[in-house]
Symmetry: C2
Subunit: 485 residues, 2 copies
């Protein structure tokens, strides 16, 4: 049978990739009506006090706080379904909130609306030890999950430093220090429970370890930053707790020799579990903040997982590579307390930065480049910092080619803000120019939006817009993130 | 500012998730016009002979051949762009073709149109040894790629058995025997070059090892089976060739003890590279086809990758687990020729099945369940086969919970076809009922379509339809696959 006569003769026009624009906040009248309906359904679990609203806007970096109109302390999937339906009726935005540890302003309610706080949806629902997976509510934090799992011999390996919520980590495609070995949230989420813009609940996949049954809805939602639906359940892969863990630190004369050592370690197939770069300034900051006495020179922090024999072999092989590049000595231990002290210092690096300049705010950056370009990118960035007189320690998940430069800025100085913004732009474009990305793990949020077009090109970005427009035509979900409002 | 007065007061109606329907083939007039335009652009690289057209319909299993109206032997991205534009003008379907090794009728041109053959787009464009990645054209086969890489010390680990094209493997989210250690195509594709329905070329991601820069377009296209765009370039992760490889086979008294051994091997953290189940009938078939003399009892084939010491330790630990479950002895070797003979037999398992019943056609199945349910699912399936008198060997990538039952059917017997179809349905529903999937690695193609609704539910499937409708509003790309036409 021929195509029907009404079939298009030329190419069909592309779907409108226009995302519905929102401007400004909701009217006072809408807020009153919205809060009235929310109160009627949720009672005192709806909070509108200024303090609580501001706690649910962005509080971590220099990005300005934008509080929601109300906060719901959700306790069940049904709560979220009803909240989405009520918000849709009032055309009010919905912003999911985990613990607020995101660094790109993700939880800011730029157009007001409802923040859904998941701190009460923090249960571990199922642990399937035989299958090495578990099902959790989005509000459980990664540390709480690992405490829950302790006796099972399993652990959840993704570790972004902060004690983030699992839902938030899925939403930003988080990773961190362990990703070089265990992958990112993309690799460790088996399935998500989602509430859609129409207030329906669905699961994106089964618990099977792999599937070819249609489009990868799980990966569409992982990293979608709350813009496509609300995550109300997460099924995670788990890993066996290693028989032995060794860790340590290794000084280097310069950043390049540390980067080259990281590259050669990866290439040689050593299954390193963590390999973290700290530049001289970051080491100074950590010494001060965490009361350490590390030599103040660029440094790699490392961790190896495996059998006792294997971690010793890995440590020895790494030490050889480091020495070959002028680094060392590599001081390592399998003693848990010493290791913990070192990694606590690494995790506190962000707070150590803030300690460098009390009263200043952190300007978060997060580029990631192919590892062959890592030394080039870090060196060019250090030269840029020196030239522009910015105080900005560098830490990096260098096994993945991902590093963070964190200028500390005085928020009262328009000049400093502009200088940091100009630096951030040069850094993002430098990484993209080297075949990399403007964000390796933090997400786009508000401040990386301008780089998406450069990084992906207009046609790829247009496909992303089509996904958004077709999943959330009303633009209810976290408006103003990933895409400009 | 308040929402504009035209903003919806109730929830906006969901986007139409209707995929444009196509029925039947193109008219003779349309075919003439289409072929005329294609000839004018591509000359003798457009072939319309019946033999070539039929070669480009499905030829592997019992699914009927549905040839395209014409075949283009594409040589460049520009060819594909122009072909898509010409087809769009004539409203003619486009079906990408790698080597035709798919098992679900993916390359059938159900509505006619153009098959784009990628056999001439088979170049390895870039190898980045330092970054452990490469960029290839979609027509390169996995064996050709590995031959190209041999001197680099790197290899591409995904091994579905057939010498499939990389483009086809990305399109079906393929995996195979190595996936338990190296993951699937989902995990090993860094980026794709895509030609869209509007004839635009885009890349889905940079070469950075990880990114949080917007929606995961790469994973949207991996496994999309040619229904969202045409893959014209693939950036793949590579792995280091292991220092040592050991392999062998281990007999078991029954399928359950073999499955339990697989489960315990995974749980104990042994990083097994391949762990394959063959049931008694499959072992018989392999003995006959590959001239082996394996004991005719359920069997695991295994492979371990690592240092010489490590593969020996892994092999020993596995042997202990097998013995604890009544299996063994585990005969293993690091000798390449013996290993190759074993794995060639495993790869030829499909042809060995066909050898069991000359003249019969294979009915492909591909369920995958959480590994804790694997023994239950295999045993229930064996009972089902026995009850229904079907000749159907079983092989399985049991480290992932994925197995294939392959009834051999006489295509002249309507009764046998119906019996196999009824069995396939029971098998798919059994796996889904155990928390699994109707397809672990083959893809949906034509014959798994009825199960998607059961597996995902209507609301998840609706989101998939929205993606399809928004990326390919004209339904140009591989109509009738994943979704009913």
């Amino acid at each position: 049978m021929a195509p029907t006569p009404t079939a298009p003769k030329g190419p069909a026009p592309p779907m409108s990739a226009e995302i519905r624009r929102r401007e400004g906040k909701l009217s006072a009248q809408t807020v009153t009506a919205l809060v009235g309906d929310l109160n009627a359904r949720f009672g005192n679990r709806i909070v509108t006090s200024q303090a609580v609203r501001e706690q649910h806007g962005h509080t971590t970096t220099w990005i300005a706080n934008a509080p929601p109109d109300a906060v719901l302390f959700a306790e069940s999937r049904e709560d979220v379904i009803d909240a989405v339906k009520i918000c849709a009726q009032h055309d009010a935005p919905i912003v999911p909130f985990g613990v607020g540890s995101s660094l790109e302003g993700h939880v800011n309610a730029l157009n007001g609306g409802l923040s859904i706080d998941f701190s009460r949806m923090n249960r571990v629902l199922e642990v399937h030890s035989e299958d090495l997976d578990c099902v959790v509510e989005p509000g459980v934090s990664r540390k709480a999950l690992n405490a829950h799992l302790r006796d099972s011999g399993l652990f959840f390996p993704i570790d972004p430093g902060a004690d983030a919520s699992i839902g938030g980590m899925a939403a930003t495609r988080a990773s961190g220090t362990n990703a070089v070995r265990y992958g990112t949230m993309k690799d460790n989420v088996l399935s998500l429970g989602i509430v859609t813009a129409e207030g329906k609940f669905l699961r994106t996949a089964s618990r099977a370890k792999k599937s070819s049954a249609g489009y990868d809805l799980t990966r569409i939602f992982v990293g979608s930053e709350g813009t496509l639906g609300v995550i109300v359940e997460v099924t995670l892969k788990l890993a066996g707790i290693p028989e032995s863990i060794s860790g340590g630190h290794c000084p280097f004369p310069d950043v390049r020799s540390a980067c080259v050592t990281a590259i050669e370690t990866i290439q040689s197939g050593i299954p390193v579990a963590r390999i973290e770069l700290l530049d001289r300034l970051q080491v100074q900051a950590c010494n001060a903040y965490s009361k350490l006495s590390l030599p103040e020179t660029p440094m790699l922090f490392l961790e190896f997982h495996g059998s006792e024999e294997s971690v010793a072999e890995q440590s020895r092989r790494f030490a050889e590579i480091a020495e070959g590049n002028g680094g060392g000595p590599f001081a390592w231990t399998t003693h848990p307390e010493e290791r913990t002290r070192l990694w606590q210092a690494r995790h506190d690096a962000y707070w150590a930065c803030i300690g460098l300049r009390p009263g200043a705010r952190a300007f978060a950056t997060d580029v990631c480049v192919p590892i062959s370009r890592l030394a080039d990118c870090v060196e060019a960035t250090q030269a840029d910092l020196a030239e522009n007189g910015l105080i900005a320690p560098i830490v990096g998940h260098v096994g993945d080619g991902n590093f963070h430069v964190t200028p500390m800025i005085d928020m009262d100085s328009r000049d400093e803000i502009e200088k940091a913004e100009a630096f951030g732009k040069r850094l993002a474009l430098r990484a993209i120019g080297m075949g990399g990305t403007c964000t390796g793990e933090h997400g786009v949020g508000q401040k990386k939006i301008p780089y998406l077009d450069v990084e992906h090109g207009p046609d790829a970005l247009d496909l992303m817009r089509r996904v958004k427009a077709s999943f959330d035509p009303q633009n209810l979900f976290n408006p103003g993130k990933i895409f400009a409002i």
